[in-house]
Structures are given as structure tokens and as C-alpha cells.
């Protein structure tokens, strides 16, 4: 195969992979990008909670420890996450607590209030929050687990192919590195697509490649099957051991656990300069009780130290690196980079911007496909397929932003005592999106663009306005109290709204020239 035909076949691949799956890729990118501020969105959507500063590790552990001792004394496992700057409420989780008079087991997870002397549950409105939005980028919605797993793997793989083939077909990648020609029709869209792709290429490669690593056992099932056989349950159990370590069974001989003061002392003694990630207590209040202290390293939440103590005596049982092999270490670093949980505020914004650039890259690619053919084709040559792509582009590129805005507005406007409230927030998102997808099919394309841009801008402006009238954490309160994490959500809505208005103006101007 000579170079010319190789490039041609890569162009074909890039065009069709991009065209057929661009709308799903765009959905994954946009929801994933918003997910970089999932915890901030959680706070915003809980609405009833004013922003609070994190408390010390000692107090966090004391609250969680005491709460779990009352709530689930005979559980199989406790899980304690200390108070952190992005999520100041300590989290106490338990698994498999026997329920009296029943054979069923109780599991749950609660966030605890910071300001009460006794550990009490932090109760908030029923909302999907940022977590639901973030999970949509790989779980989508209304889908069965197997379907969403394979769909997200498939689309991620195609995205990765799209990125690599894009590098191959970009003839003058170095010469045209900084080239961008505005107001030149299809050429401008291509330049825009190229500049966005090239500038964020490391991010695109990292995010798609690490996305595949997330689901490597589903993606390459035979590798895991080679070691663990085809029994899915055994495989799942063995794989979870890699991340969490050996499972400790209860001896059913009750024993007194070490007290909170000793636990806190042991934690600070063993973590030293490292950051505490969480504490896992297996077989609590039992002779076999163990306490696993997990620390986190620079980039990956999954790597770092795993220190195991005897839960009754406090003696050190083992201390080792969480990743037991170089392959696992590599995977953990890639996963850490993908999630960006380690990122402080500056880097978090850079992640967000790279995500926005990635979403814009997909959008401009889809628009370029239409604009290029628009020049070539006469009005009567434009088939149904062309019009379908044109309409879907509008409904997805602009409509998804409108749908996410509707999700935020629904959070504030749906009645607090509504049944399945959190689910209805998501229904509002998809209903809005459906309206925005149908709209371009029944309106002239030129008008559909500007109408959708303006309607979406209005929805975005509604976010801070509705927030002002329905909650106590509105923009004026958050800005005057220096709660920039929450204020940024209202401000971002305004900024994106202004950008959409300017785009609508530019579009109308271009169409009338």
C-alpha cells in the first residue's frame, strides 16, 4: 500500500467513524467534562447546604467510627472517607450488616454533618447531582449494564481510532500547527477542527486510551479468562482482590476494636507525608478485625501505600504498595490521569478546558462534514441523509447543552417531596434534549441554528436566576462569601450563555451577508 492510498483509507476511516458516532462521542465528552466538577455540582444541587470548610482527619474518623459502631456493628465491612476540601462531609459506608429477624443484609453509605457533637446523617434533597451527570459519560441512561459497557467500549475504541487516524491524515501537521483562517467557510471549520485537535492531542490520546484501560477485562476478556477461567463470579472476585486486597471473614467471636484515639495515632504514624485516601475496616468488632489504611500518590488514587493493622491490637500486619506489578502501576497511573481526582483547582480547570476543547473538536468535525458537502452539492442533490446529519448536528451540539441546563433548572424547580425526584431531573434532561433534536427537523436549518443557540443561552441564563429565587446559595451569597467553587457554576452558565449569544449573532450576520 503506498502512502497516498494509506492516507486515503485513513481519511475514509476518520470521516465515517467520526460521522456515524460523533453524537455519542460528543455526549460522552460533554458529560465527562462536566464531571470534572462533579463534587462542586453535588453541593450546588443539594442547595440546602452552605459551603463548609473541611474538618481534621481526627474529627472525621471519630465521627465516622462512632456512627458505624451504632449503625452497623456486625457488618462485614466498614469504609471511612475523611473530610476533604472538595467534599467536606466525612463518608461512612457499611456492607452486609445482618438485619434482625430477616435473612437479608443491609448495606449503605451516609455523609455526616460536621457541626454536631454526635455523628448525624447529612440529609439533603433527593438529587442526582454531579455524580449522576458524570456517570452518564460511560453509563449513558435507560440502559442495561451489559449494553452500556459494550457501547462505551466500542465508542471509546472508535474515538481512539479517530484520534490516531486524524494525526495520519493531517498532511501538514507541523507546517499548519498554528494555522487558523476565520470566515473562510468550510476551510475555517477544518482549521478550527485541526487546531482544537492538535492543541489537545495529548489529552485526547490519554483520555481515550485510559478509557479503554478502565474496561480492559470487558474489552479483552480472554486475558482475564486465561488466568481465572470463564466463571464470571470468580473472575470478579479475583479482580476486586487486586484493588482491595484479601477478604477477611468474621470469626464470630466478638472483640473490642482499638479506640478512635489509637486509630488516629496509627493513621498519622503510618501515613506521614502521604495523603490519607480512605480506611477500610473488615470484620469490625470481631476477633479477625483488620484495618486497612489506604494512602494516595501524586497522580493515581489507586496507587500509594496499603497499610494493614490488626483491628483489635493495632499491630502492623503488612505495609506494601497497592500496585503489585508494573502493569498494574501503569494501569493505575492511566486511570488516575483519566479521572483527575488528584487535581487541585488550577489543574481541574485545565482538565475542564481540555474537555471543552475535545467536545468542540468533535462538534467542528461534524459541522465541517456538512459545510464541505454544502459547497459541493446543489440544493436538490442534498438527500435525506444529508439533512438528517445537518439536523442531528444542531440537535446534539446545541441541544445537549440546553438539556444539561434543564437538568440544573429542574433541580431547583421540581417539588422537594416529589417521588423519584432525582430520576425526574434526568428525565427533564432527556425530554429537553428530545425537543431540541426534533426542532431542526421541522424548522429551516438556518433558522434552527440561531433559534437553538438563543434558546440554549436563555436556559443557561435561567440557571443563576432560578437559583437566586429558590436557594440560599445563590450567586450573590456565594460570591460575597468567597465560595468560588459554587459561584463558578452560576458564572460559567452566564459565560457560556454569552458565548452562545455571540455565536448566534455571528451566525445570523454570516447568513445575511
Amino acid at each position: 500500500m503506498n502512502n497516498g492510498s494509506f492516507r486515503k483509507s485513513m481519511t475514509w476511516l476518520h470521516t465515517w467513524v467520526g460521522l456515524v458516532f460523533c453524537w455519542i462521542m460528543y455526549f460522552m465528552f460533554v458529560t465527562g467534562t462536566v464531571g470534572y466538577f462533579d463534587e462542586e455540582i453535588d453541593h450546588w444541587m443539594e442547595a440546602d447546604t452552605l459551603m463548609q470548610s473541611p474538618i481534621s482527619v481526627e474529627k472525621s474518623l471519630a465521627l465516622s467510627y462512632e456512627f458505624l459502631a451504632k449503625k452497623a456493628p456486625e457488618a462485614k465491612q466498614w469504609f471511612l472517607v475523611p473530610s476533604q476540601s472538595r467534599n467536606p462531609f466525612p463518608t461512612a459506608s457499611w456492607r452486609d450488616q445482618p438485619i434482625e429477624g430477616s435473612e437479608e443484609l443491609d448495606s449503605g453509605s451516609k455523609r455526616l454533618n460536621l457541626d454536631s457533637a454526635e455523628p448525624t446523617e447529612h440529609i439533603v434533597r433527593d438529587t442526582g447531582g454531579g455524580q449522576r451527570l458524570y456517570r452518564m459519560h460511560y453509563r449513558f441512561h435507560y440502559m442495561d449494564r451489559t449494553l452500556y459497557t459494550y457501547l462505551s467500549i466500542f465508542v471509546t475504541l472508535l474515538m481512539f481510532i479517530g484520534v490516531v487516524s486524524g494525526v495520519v491524515i493531517h498532511r501538514k501537521i507541523f507546517i499548519d500547527f498554528f494555522t487558523f483562517r476565520q470566515f473562510k467557510g468550510a476551510k475555517s471549520w477544518l482549521d478550527f477542527h485541526n487546531i482544537l485537535s492538535v492543541s489537545s492531542l495529548p489529552f485526547q490520546l490519554m483520555i481515550t486510551y485510559s478509557g479503554l484501560i478502565f474496561m480492559v477485562t470487558s474489552f479483552f476478556p480472554l486475558i482475564a479468562a486465561g488466568s481465572y477461567g470463564f466463571d464470571k463470579d470468580t473472575m470478579k472476585k479475583e479482580l476486586s482482590k487486586l484493588a482491595t486486597g484479601e477478604v477477611v471473614e468474621r470469626a464470630n467471636v466478638s472483640a473490642k476494636m482499638i479506640d478512635v484515639e489509637t486509630l488516629t495515632k496509627k493513621v498519622s504514624e503510618h501515613t506521614k507525608n502521604q495523603q490519607l485516601q480512605n480506611i477500610r475496616i473488615q470484620a469490625p468488632n470481631d476477633q479477625n478485625a483488620t484495618i486497612t489504611i489506604n494512602t494516595m500518590s501524586d497522580i493515581s488514587n489507586y496507587s500509594g501505600q496499603k497499610i494493614v493493622l490488626n483491628g483489635v491490637t493495632g499491630e502492623l500486619i503488612s505495609s506494601e504498595q497497592k500496585s503489585s506489578s508494573s502493569g498494574l502501576s501503569f494501569a493505575y497511573v492511566m486511570l488516575g490521569l483519566h479521572e483527575g481526582l488528584f487535581a487541585e483547582i488550577g489543574l481541574r480547570w485545565l482538565y475542564f478546558i481540555a474537555g471543552v476543547v475535545g467536545s468542540a473538536m468533535i462538534a467542528t468535525g461534524a459541522i465541517y462534514y456538512v459545510e464541505k458537502r454544502k459547497v459541493k452539492l446543489q440544493e436538490n442533490e442534498k438527500g435525506k441523509g444529508f439533512k438528517f446529519v445537518e439536523s442531528m448536528n444542531i440537535g446534539t451540539i446545541v441541544g445537549l447543552i440546553a438539556a444539561i441546563s434543564a437538568y440544573f433548572i429542574a433541580n431547583r424547580l421540581l417539588p422537594l417531596d416529589m417521588e423519584n425526584r432525582a430520576n425526574w431531573e434526568v428525565h427533564c434532561l432527556f425530554l429537553t434534549w428530545a425537543v431540541f433534536i426534533i426542532h431542526p427537523f421541522i424548522r429551516p436549518i438556518k433558522k434552527a441554528w440561531s433559534e437553538q443557540l438563543i434558546a440554549t443561552a436563555v436556559l443557561l441564563f435561567c440557571i443563576p436566576i432560578v437559583n437566586f429565587f429558590t436557594s440560599q446559595i445563590h450567586l450573590i451569597y456565594t460570591a460575597t462569601n468567597g465560595n468560588w467553587a459554587l459561584a463558578a457554576i452560576d458564572l460559567s452558565a452566564i459565560v457560556f450563555g454569552v458565548i452562545l449569544i455571540l455565536t448566534a449573532r455571528l451566525y445570523t450576520k454570516r447568513e445575511t451577508v
Partner: protein
């Protein structure tokens, strides 16, 4: 703070590297011909500044975090540089066109007044 300093250095660096390309050099300095020495000098200065920008980020954190941050920073730098070069070239072309039409009008007016 280090992020902002690194951003500023890296922005300047990408601008200088763009200037080392004849195509962009002509967009800014239309009257000057780029020589081989100027090209190499600009490239050397630009790449050195990129290394400096990474080094600045690595001052207060590990190199792995610094590199992660740098890839985010340079994404913005490239887009801003591309936007700047295009806007500058268009502005220049517009003012050149305006000057040209002004001159043409003046010449036309002069020839009309000379005629009468």
C-alpha cells in the same frame, strides 16, 4: 501562582516558535525576509522557554504533576497563538485595504480637480 507564571512563559514560547515558521513570520513582519539564523535563533529561544515553563511548574510539585499541568497549559497557548496570528493578519489586511481605498480616492480626487 506558578501556574500563571508558567502559562505566561509558555504563551511567549509558543508565539516565538510560531514566529520561527516563515508563514507566520511573514504575517507579522511583512517587510523583513526571515534568514536561517533568525529561524534557528527563534526556535532555540522558543523551545528553551518551553523547558523553562515546565521547570517552573516542577518547582513546587513532582515532575509528573508538572507535566500533566503543562499539557493543559500548552493546549490553551496553542489556541491563543493561532487566534492571535489570524486576527493580526486580518486586521492588517483590513487596514491595508482601507489605506489603499483612501489613497485611490485621493488620487481620483486630485485627477478630477486637475481636470477641471
Amino acid at each position: 501562582m506558578m501556574l500563571l507564571i508558567s502559562f505566561a512563559i509558555s504563551q511567549l514560547a509558543t508565539f516565538i516558535i510560531a514566529m520561527s515558521m516563515p508563514k507566520h513570520y511573514r504575517q507579522i513582519l511583512t517587510t523583513h525576509q526571515q534568514t536561517g539564523l533568525v529561524k534557528i535563533t527563534l526556535m532555540l529561544v522558543g523551545w528553551s522557554m518551553i523547558i523553562l515553563a515546565i521547570f517552573v511548574l516542577a518547582l513546587q510539585q513532582s515532575i509528573s504533576l508538572a507535566l500533566t499541568e503543562y499539557f493543559g497549559v500548552v493546549t490553551l497557548n496553542i489556541i491563543l497563538t493561532a487566534l492571535f496570528f489570524d486576527s493580526y493578519a486580518r486586521k492588517r489586511a483590513t487596514s491595508k485595504n482601507n489605506a489603499y481605498s483612501r489613497n485611490r480616492n485621493t488620487v481620483q480626487n486630485q485627477s478630477i480637480s486637475a481636470k477641471y
